[in-house]
Amino acid sequence: MNALPAREQQIHILLVEDDPADARLIEIYLEESGFGDWLIDRAQSIQEALDQLEEQDYAIVLLDLTLPDGTGTENIRRIKSRFPDQNVVVLTGFDERVFGMEAVQQGAQDFLVKGDYDENSLAKTLRFSIERQNFIRRLEETQKIARIGSWEFHPDSGRLILSDQVLALTRPDDTELKDGMPSVELNHLLRRIHRIALSGREVNLDTRMKIPGNGERYFHVQCRLTRTPINQEIVQGILQDVTDRYQTEEMRKSRDLARKSTEIREQFIASISHEMRTPMNAIMGLSNVLLTGSDLAGEKKQMIQAIRDASDILLGIVNDILDFSAIQAGKIQFREEPFSVRSVCRNLEQILAAKVRDKGLSWKMIIEDQVPDQLIGDKLRMSQILFNLLGNAIKFTDAGQVALHVDCSQRTRNKVSLTFRIEDTGIGIPAEAQQSIFEDFNRVKYQNKTYEGTGLGLAITRQLVELQQGRIYLESQVGVGTTFFVHLDFAVEQTLPNGHAVMEPVRSSEGAFRGTILVVEDHKMNQLVARKTLERQWPEVKILMAENGQVGLELLERNDVDLVLMDLQMPVMDGYQATQAIRRHPLARIRQVPVLAMTANAYVSRDDQLHEKGFTDFVLKPFEPDQLFARILQYAPIKTISL
């Protein structure tokens, strides 16, 4: 254990006594009492004591109340006003013990009556005074940490004693705190609450005060009327700065309110969007019906066209708002499901073909051979990202070309990094606008023309890319065109959902399909391609060919078929009728055969009605071999696949 330095262990006492005999008596008693290691300095007047207190710290001031330059409680007030924290024990004459009581009220720790104490009571009084003083200091430190101050109000004399902490809290910029006076605001507050306390009620309230140099602060105030041992009334109170707590509470309330507002806003947006979509579908649907009527021409047709185009824009805006709201609320979730990147791009190509055509633009799409087709990810979100960027490219290009280029920047067995490049020869984006182009509600202005939209499209696109740990950026030159780059990582599908076949690479030597496939297709070239493609992939496959649904049904009844590839539009019996007949067939082996629709129509392929009409799934035409093989392996009975 470390011993304290001798100097610090020594109790330094200032004895303020003009009578040498009394002073000597104190020294003698202290020597006899075994008080410890003490050192006495002596002053013979108040002024001399004040000077010495300026120079030196003392553990105790032993103060005679009858001195040449002051008597009675005036002496303690003079010391306490300059050194409010000083531990003072008062010495009074036998006839002056009343002053001793008053001195304690003025801040002295205790008093000793001359001629009425001995060495033991002297030592005991001094020790207790030091302990009390230490205790008070610790209490004040604690109050300081808790930002609590205390006060006493003596109604008889009108005396108000404020702790240092009260002054520090209410007059923080005041360098003259030692005057012990309350600020104007505090004084006003105390007068008000003292009236309440003096009526016998306890005060317990939160209030706020303007604090010079510290703005508006919040305080918790408690006080009540008590009585001293000599039956004097005192109002005792505490004041605590609760601004931090109050602000935290206010922030919590604001946060709760904001959360609630967000919930209400989301519900409102979802509700209003739903309510808007329904009539908009009616407007768009009926506009389409009118446009397809043969009796509409000229101006009326243009007007209906305008209604449909405006509805289309409005629907886009509603969708943007819904997406934006979902992203803001962190409610966007990304699926992990197998999909064909080429199918997604082809679907987009078809969807956007009319817009490209209407603007007289040329279109180019290149998907590099090394891009694996079957990936795992969120195809809808990928489609949305590309749709937004391609839609913008078309919107801001009046002449020339819009192109989509898909390449593979990195590839491992399980993972691929794709780069989508969306190029246009449009108006371009000025350098100073390229940073803000992805910000919310940013709308492009070009030659004083503002293009329609919410200004959310690119913000949503960026969020959709970044939420998938992707990257999006652009290169652009005004008047030349813009290229957006999107980098996204995907897992490469390795196994089929049934877990039995390795799909990539699909090679006849690795996964031989030995079953029978019925191809129902009226188009000669498609028949040939289907046959050759399948036979090249699986030399042992048996292909049955039917030129319409009727023939297909007959072949199905006469042969053990594992899977049917069914065209939709055919003479005699189309694919829908044939599939319905298959699903209603009395033989279970026919009812249960997987039927894949072959369709070039991206809209039809996305339509759930395909499933409702009995199709197991679909493959897009023109064929994408990998997709075709994958779908067959996915749905053909497991018994027919061997590794």
Partner: protein, 119 residues
């Protein structure tokens, strides 16, 4: 005269043949047979003013044209198929047929040179 390379984009055809020259030749031969036949089927349906038959002819042409890779023809045909599927048959659709037949004729005319080039 338009160069065959400007009219045809055989990427799809090549991808479907998987580099098999026999199959490629068979497909090109079929293309030489099917394109004129389907063109004539379309024109007959137009003469008969049978909108459903025009739609069926256009639908059939869709696959055939995909093998040529000619964007212009595919695009025109898609518009024609879409219109006739909905029963539309007016001046706009007739103009589409005229334009489509013009492009098909160019393709048919260029096919022999293309086949020779490939060979």
């Amino acid at each position: 005269m338009t160069h065959p390379g400007d009219l045809f984009d055989l990427a799809y055809l090549h991808s479907m043949t998987g580099g098999d020259p026999d199959m490629r030749d068979t497909l090109l031969d079929l293309l030489r047979e099917e394109l004129p036949r389907e063109r004539n089927t379309l024109l007959k349906a137009v003469d008969d003013e049978d909108v459903h038959a025009i739609f069926q002819a256009s639908h059939s042409l869709k696959s055939t044209l995909a093998y040529t890779g000619n964007r212009q023809a595919m695009d025109i045909n898609t518009r024609l198929e879409s219109a006739t599927r909905e029963g539309r048959w007016g001046g706009e659709e007739q103009a589409l047929v005229a334009e489509l037949v013009r492009v098909i004729d160019q393709l048919v005319q260029a096919l022999p040179a293309l086949v020779q080039g490939v060979e």
